[in-house]
């Protein structure tokens, strides 16, 4: 797996950056062979991951750092890494359960959306250190591609 193109971006944990960051990842993803519907789904998972960093990771503190690294791999895989340096997740199994939320006003659907609209979801987290969400989704495999352009 080699990286064809990537972008790394960092911004503070402000609510207005949720919209900005999902737009950017969506714009980057247009470099892949994917539909408008795919882009909408990518924006959704980014929105969930970034919102979680702000709300849960940083308890809505607006001046903490969020980092996103988006990579396009040779075989048409989009990898999105969303990283915060916030409070981390104590009980990851519980957190991943559908409808679980530590906040009663929330739905607990974030991880469910992230899992449903990607092929792979990896979470690395440590209490007090932060959370790193890695999402992968493949849009076209080389064997579906009659005219591979090469690397």
């Amino acid at each position: 797996m080699s990286v064809k193109n990537y972008v790394q971006f960092e911004f503070p944990s402000k609510p207005e950056n949720v919209s900005f960051s999902r737009s950017c990842v969506g714009a980057f993803a247009t470099q892949l062979e994917c539909t408008l519907e795919d882009i909408e789904e990518i924006k959704l998972v980014v929105s969930e991951a970034v919102s979680n960093s702000i709300i849960h990771g940083y308890d809505n503190q607006p001046n903490e750092k969020i980092r996103i690294i988006v990579s396009i791999m040779d075989e048409g895989t989009l990898e999105i890494v969303v990283q915060d340096f916030g409070k981390g997740i104590q009980n990851l199994d519980q957190a991943m359960e559908p409808a679980f939320s530590s906040d009663p006003a929330r739905m607990g659907m974030g991880f469910t959306f992230m899992k449903s609209f990607t092929d792979e979801l990896d979470v690395v987290t440590a209490p007090g250190e932060g959370t790193c969400i890695c999402l992968r989704r493949t849009f076209s495999r080389p064997d579906e591609d009659d005219f591979p352009e090469g690397g």
Partner: protein, 110 residues
């Protein structure tokens, strides 16, 4: 997010425009709850025709208002959701609690 409210008797129609994410949830929740309480609203219709994006934060506000309306023995409907938004409403099961209709007329005729 634009929030446009219109009340006739105990029916409140709220037209939203923009993106429904965590940026707007607090304000939306507050505006809706205030109007529901002050206006003794028993029927809440949320028009999503001009909403281009919704995520779980947005769904949370809708579900919260559904619970509130149920506690008040009131009803709630969603109208006008475009395909991409409707997909998320259905995927999350929100449509099983809050019925979706094309427009206000469709609610009346049902």
């Amino acid at each position: 997010m634009d929030i446009d409210k219109k009340q006739v008797r105990d029916t409140l129609v709220v037209r939203l425009a923009g993106e429904l994410d965590m940026m707007v949830t607090d304000r939306l929740r507050q505006e809706l709850d205030e109007t529901i309480d002050q206006g003794r609203v028993r029927m809440l219709i949320i028009d999503l025709e001009r909403v281009s994006f919704i995520d779980s934060s947005g769904l949370g506000v809708l579900i919260g208002r559904y619970k509130k309306m149920s506690a008040l023995n009131g009803r709630m409907f969603i109208v006008g959701a475009k395909t991409s938004v409707e997909k998320i409403l259905c995927f999350s099961g929100v449509n099983k609690l809050i019925p979706l209709y094309k427009n206000e007329r469709e609610i009346i005729s049902n």
